[in-house]
């Protein structure tokens, strides 16, 4: 049982309602049979979910976002594993600078990154390219991956690796058979948090997507500024569902409180 008094529990209940209300109402309205944004008082309907799947723009944006998130998370992990090994295990000139640089996207507002990338892409003639969009997303998800990896690498016992070396294993074998398995929770946890962050990203992407590369959050933002119908609620409910699955996976693999609370 809790040691909190009734006043504290009442306050706590209000906070929980406040945090969940916007998400709950979106999920409820998504099932409305009406043509307007309203709670489903006269039965549930899946018509707005059907409308989403028959809306070519939303379907295309969904696939764009999915590919973008998978590619940028995978490539970010591929770059972050060696980089965090270098930062955690060696003293070398420029180490502090690199560490700060790799974490800098956390304190640079995404808006600023967005306009900066827009300028760069205009200068190098990369506007509208999907490849450059992936690279931009790699930049914003890498810090999340690095933080988990640096924690994973600095927290493990090097003597296991040294034992493998002394038994004659090569560097490659030690990395593949000893190091990688030991930091695997950090790698998969980092991949998932990178995936979620890329999939959700709006503020930077809105500046650097073209009509053919528009991501789902950007498409939703554009749609919501013009008209609002229950289809928006259905898309939102689908996003909440996808996020919930990713969150549960993340919790299983790494522990959500460890990721979120370890963040600051």
């Amino acid at each position: 049982m809790t040691r909190n008094g009734p006043a504290a529990l009442f306050f706590h209940t209000l906070v929980v309602i406040f945090m969940l209300a916007p998400l709950v109402i979106v999920c409820l309205v998504a099932f409305t049979p009406e043509n307007t944004l309203s709670l489903p008082t006269r039965g549930f309907s899946l018509r707005w979910f059907e409308a989403v799947f028959h809306h070519p723009d939303f379907v295309q944006s969904f696939w764009n976002s999915l590919w973008l998130a998978v590619l940028s998370a995978t490539l970010a992990v591929a770059l972050a594993v060696p980089a965090s090994l270098a930062i955690t295990r060696w003293e070398f000139p420029g180490r502090g600078f690199l560490n700060a640089l790799f974490l800098s996207p956390l304190i640079i507002p995404h808006l600023v990154l967005g306009v900066a990338m827009l300028r760069l892409f205009a200068v190098v003639g990369a506007a509208g390219s999907f490849g450059w969009l992936v690279a931009a997303h790699m930049v914003i998800v890498t810090p999340y991956v690095m933080r988990l990896l640096i924690a994973a690498i600095s927290g493990f016992d090097r003597s296991v690796e040294q034992a493998a070396f002394s038994l004659g294993a090569s560097e490659a074998t030690v990395f593949r058979r000893v190091t990688l398995p030991m930091i695997l929770p950090g790698v998969t946890g980092g991949w998932l948090i990178a995936f979620i962050n890329s999939f959700d990203e709006l503020t930077m992407s809105i500046f650097i997507t073209s009509p053919s590369t528009v991501t789902l959050p950007v498409r939703m933002y554009m749609y919501a500024t013009e008209s609002i119908d229950p289809m928006m609620a259905a898309v939102s409910a689908l996003i909440i569902g996808i996020t919930a699955v990713a969150v549960l996976l993340l919790d299983r693999v790494y522990g959500l409180d460890r990721i979120l609370v370890g963040q600051h």
């Binding site: 906070v15 770059l79 060696p82 930062i87 507002p109 939102s236 409180d257």
Partner: protein, 301 residues
């Protein structure tokens, strides 16, 4: 460059690890990521800083030359002054409300026992991972003319109120988005707190309120400060919430930058506002960093 500096790492005998034989290894390992960040963080920020000093010709849309007019416009033009002032006001208010709600909530959470503690921590923190567009959309439905909040107001006899597109709505939605950033650092400092200290205060006859104010509060102050700065910085650069809930008239800094870039096409002006926003954010974060370091140094020394 450091290929010529193999002794940069203090070589201690008896600690011979395989890496010491390859002093260039860290450069190869961090090289690809360093290239990516040089190309996509440093270069574009540098280009944007340059752009903010370019002249802009409204007739032809061409940019070039050197001018300080965009920075002067921000400090003299009433339009920009009002927007910066409003952004500051809204962010400060959202931060204050986050302190008032987030700090007690973190304390209540820390006094729960499992499994409730883990479940409610998840409930409070997980919305952080749901796209901000979805959360803004949820608020626009809750506070819309036909939404449940107006329904409750009518039922209470207060009558329908126009809630959307007001500063209040933007503040409420910002608090919803930012609250986890306040709970996390306060929760972290509460975890480090020894509950026996609070117990000791109580057993010496202090009231619960005195124990909280005199014993708990001073120790979680760094967490509150840290959370406040994060919340303020993120609120001041928030885009989706004012964009979707502020309407056309209620502009904040981020939505103005968006307009300058994508409607007015005055990139240099937008760049100047973005540079100011970045500078303000960096100053806040670096000041905080120094304050925290000073705090720990005092505690250790």
């Amino acid at each position: 460059m450091s290929a010529t500096l193999p002794d940069a790492a203090p070589a201690s005998p008896g600690e011979e690890t395989p890496e010491r034989r390859f002093p260039t290894a860290p450069l190869f390992l961090s090289g690809p990521a360093a290239l990516l960040f040089a190309a996509l963080v440093l270069t574009p920020l540098f280009l944007t800083a340059l752009l903010s000093f370019n002249q802009f010709d409204y007739a032809t849309g061409r940019t070039g030359g050197f001018t300080l007019e965009h920075y002067l416009a921000v400090v003299t033009d009433e339009y920009y002054l009002e927007i910066f002032l409003r952004t500051f006001r809204i962010s400060a208010l959202a931060t204050a409300i986050c302190v008032v709600i987030g700090v007690p909530e973190a304390y209540i959470l820390s006094r729960m026992s499992n499994p409730w503690r883990s479940i409610f921590l998840l409930v409070i923190l997980a919305p952080l991972l749901v796209s901000v567009v979805v959360r803004a959309f949820g608020w626009s439905m809750l506070l819309g003319p036909e939404g449940p909040v107006n329904g409750a107001l009518i039922a209470l006899g207060i009558g329908r109120m126009k809630l959307l597109y007001s500063e209040g709505t933007v503040v409420v939605a910002l608090v919803h988005v930012m609250l986890p950033f306040m709970v996390i650092p306060v929760w972290t400092s509460l975890q480090k707190l020894d509950p026996a200290v609070e117990q000791a205060a109580l057993s010496f006859g202090a009231s619960r309120a005195t124990a909280i104010v005199r014993v708990v509060a001073p120790q979680v102050l760094p967490g509150i400060l840290s959370g406040s700065l994060i919340v303020f910085g993120l609120s001041a650069s928030a885009f989706a919430i004012p964009g979707l809930l502020g309407g056309r008239r209620l502009k904040m800094v981020a939505t103005v930058v968006y307009d300058q870039y994508l409607s007015d096409l005055n990139w240099p002006m937008g760049a100047a506002v973005a540079v100011i926003l970045l500078a303000a954010n960096l100053i806040i974060m670096l000041t905080y960093h120094r304050m925290v370091e000073g705090h720990y140094r005092r505690r250790l020394g």
